[in-house]
Amino acid sequence: MTYIGIIITYVFISNLVLSQFLGLCPFIGVSKNTESAVGMGFAVTFVMSLAALITWALQHFILIPLNIVFLQTVTFILVIATLVQLVEMAVRKYSPPLYQALGIYLPLITTNCGVMGIALISVNKSYGPMESFIAGLSAGAGFLMALLFMSGIRERLDTEKVPKFLQGTPIAFISGGLMALAFMAFDHALLTNLIGG
């Protein structure tokens, strides 16, 4: 697939949160206000693009040559956890303002299903290194976008009267569902029409 195709696919059509349910925990947990949503979104985008690229290298230079693909899950999650740690240390050292903004979200990213998800998807679809990187980057951008929309909706919901049992997460899920409904308009037919398959 072309790079443009990959970008459109992961930002709109197969948006990780809205069509694959990956990264739902932060989608519900960190979307209460716009500021933290943006912070989390950028941190995730950063980690996703690096993770997709590094897991590609791991798969092709270590796991396949050594015939230990069965250790894929273990090594991928370890790489992601280490990466998150390294990113946290680097950001703290070289850019204190950025750390101030992203710091508290970084440790949460290890268990963001989206990071592991996009790594596994890239390997499954036999993407090359550049394609994996772009897939990670666009998946992160799609996540950022979904999170941003959601936080906008939830900030407004705060001032509305919501039935007692629906307050908090239930109404957030339902709003997310309605948003996903709107995103169903983006499908593969659109991609085919735009860039000819």
Binding site: I68, F70, L71, V74, I121, N124, K125, S126, D187, H188, A189
Partner: protein, 179 residues
């Protein structure tokens, strides 16, 4: 520093034990998995050859074809075809008459979405392709299906992947048979 080394050692031991354990389990399970895949293919081949027995497998007779078998008495061919679906590569096995028309087809290995593309594993899904490829062309997109379109509802990319693989197979059969 000593403390660091101690922690690293503990982590290392956990990792080593885990890797060892998994490789033992994998050693046991790998042949079982390989055997199961072979059985599955054989089962599909018996169905596809519809009563006849398939000949020896021939690897990579053409691009996009992993294997081909000749059906006894030169009645046709069975092909293991590679296609690309929504979740990545997919494998279709199909039997063809000598005129390139499809006798039967099955979706084998794939990473399609549960509940959508995966539905193509159901043998009924492939009914829409039976008999096409000869006089009647293999459907190119969903609009060619007419009233059968409900069978393949959803999962356009899966459908396209399968139909393209089947069409390529049909064209190859025609080429080999000189038609």
């Amino acid at each position: 520093m000593n403390e660091m080394a101690n922690k690293a050692l503990r982590l290392g031991i956990i990792g080593a034990v885990a890797a060892l354990l998994l490789s033992v389990v994998n050693n046991f399970a790998e042949p079982v998995i390989a055997q199961r895949k072979a059985d599955e293919l054989n089962k599909a081949l018996t169905v596809l050859a519809s009563g006849e027995s398939p000949g020896e497998a021939e690897s990579h007779p053409a691009g996009g074809v992993k294997k081909r078998w000749s059906i006894d008495g030169n009645k046709g061919w069975i092909l293991e075809l590679e296609g690309s679906g929504y979740g990545g590569p997919l494998t279709v096995v199909a039997s063809y008459n000598t005129d390139g028309s499809i006798i039967l087809a099955r979706l084998m290995d794939n990473s399609e979405t549960v509940g959508f593309g995966k539905k193509a594993e159901n043998p009924d899904y492939m009914k829409i392709f039976i008999g096409t490829g000869g006089e009647k062309p293999v459907p190119r997109n969903k609009n060619d299906l007419g009233s059968d379109v409900d069978t393949v509802s959803g999962a356009t990319i899966t459908f396209t992947g399968i139909t393209e693989a089947l069409r390529d197979g049909s064209n190859l059969v025609k080429e080999w048979e000189g038609r």
